[in-house]
Subunit: 152 residues, 2 copies
Amino acid sequence: MSLNQVDRQILALIQQDASLSTAEIADKVGLSQSPCWRRIAKLEQDGYIKGKVALLDDKKLGFDMLVYANVRLSNHGRNNLAEFEELILSYDEVTECYTMAGTMDFMLRIISKGIDGYERFVRDNLLNLEYVQEVHSNVTMTCVKRTTALPL
Amino acid sequence: MSLNQVDRQILALIQQDASLSTAEIADKVGLSQSPCWRRIAKLEQDGYIKGKVALLDDKKLGFDMLVYANVRLSNHGRNNLAEFEELILSYDEVTECYTMAGTMDFMLRIISKGIDGYERFVRDNLLNLEYVQEVHSNVTMTCVKRTTALPL
DNA sequence: TATTAAAGAGAATAAAATTCTCATAATTTT
DNA sequence: AAAATTATGAGAATTTTATTCTCTTTAATA
């Protein structure tokens, strides 16, 4: 099952604004409402659309600290990767986590309230773990751009 | 204007799933539909909710390459920050961009199709610029976690 | 060329969003 | 403390949107 041009257009639209009505979308892509609706339903069914979410204003809610932290585990820790990853999933402050090519590190995106909030998180939840060998914090200053949209 | 417990609950819910109906949300937070709707409307009005978007499956759409690139500008480039940032905004492959504390670098989150897609992007759009001094690519391997939700 | 499968249009229905009116509780003012 | 104002909730009414259905057209296949 593959996507045609209209499908891509639909995806491009709703990844920017999921509050568009199917009628509006239909209009923009040159379809009538019901087939447009069916396409969207199919895109969800087939898993192209993972979900719809509201994006909140982090600054306004007090989250003024955004840090990308590189975490290096000890040899011992590498045998408990599953455990570490479970923990990461449970920490709401960690909004993203990747393993990196080259190094044996994890990169974490950590959002918190103030430097103190960040320090508390790192101390209590990362340095805490015996198998965490090193945490290197890369603090962001200004957000120039941030979008969830893919370059379709 | 400040948020009460119910407002926070509402935000916590819709940042996870924006397809919930106001009736469902109302139910979960212990309100009836209309006041719940009004709260949500106010949260939008007041800017706590920046928007609603559909999250797409990047892998499924062919975006299998995710890189965090550190970009260092020359002295000359630092006098054209505005121009550089404008460009960044125009590149759909760059989904995030921050200036970093400490260094005078930018950190870019770049999503593309394959190594070749990435290389093409960097060559054509970054190395291209005379005032870009250095691009350091940090390639991600596995995505352990990724959410847009704030730790409310 | 006949036949089947995909995909679109438009109308009908169901569900949800939005608005309105009224009641209650909290807060402020006198 | 009483009166008045404001904020917030409930429920019904209305409008809009999502969803389903039927029919037609187009495209693909035998």
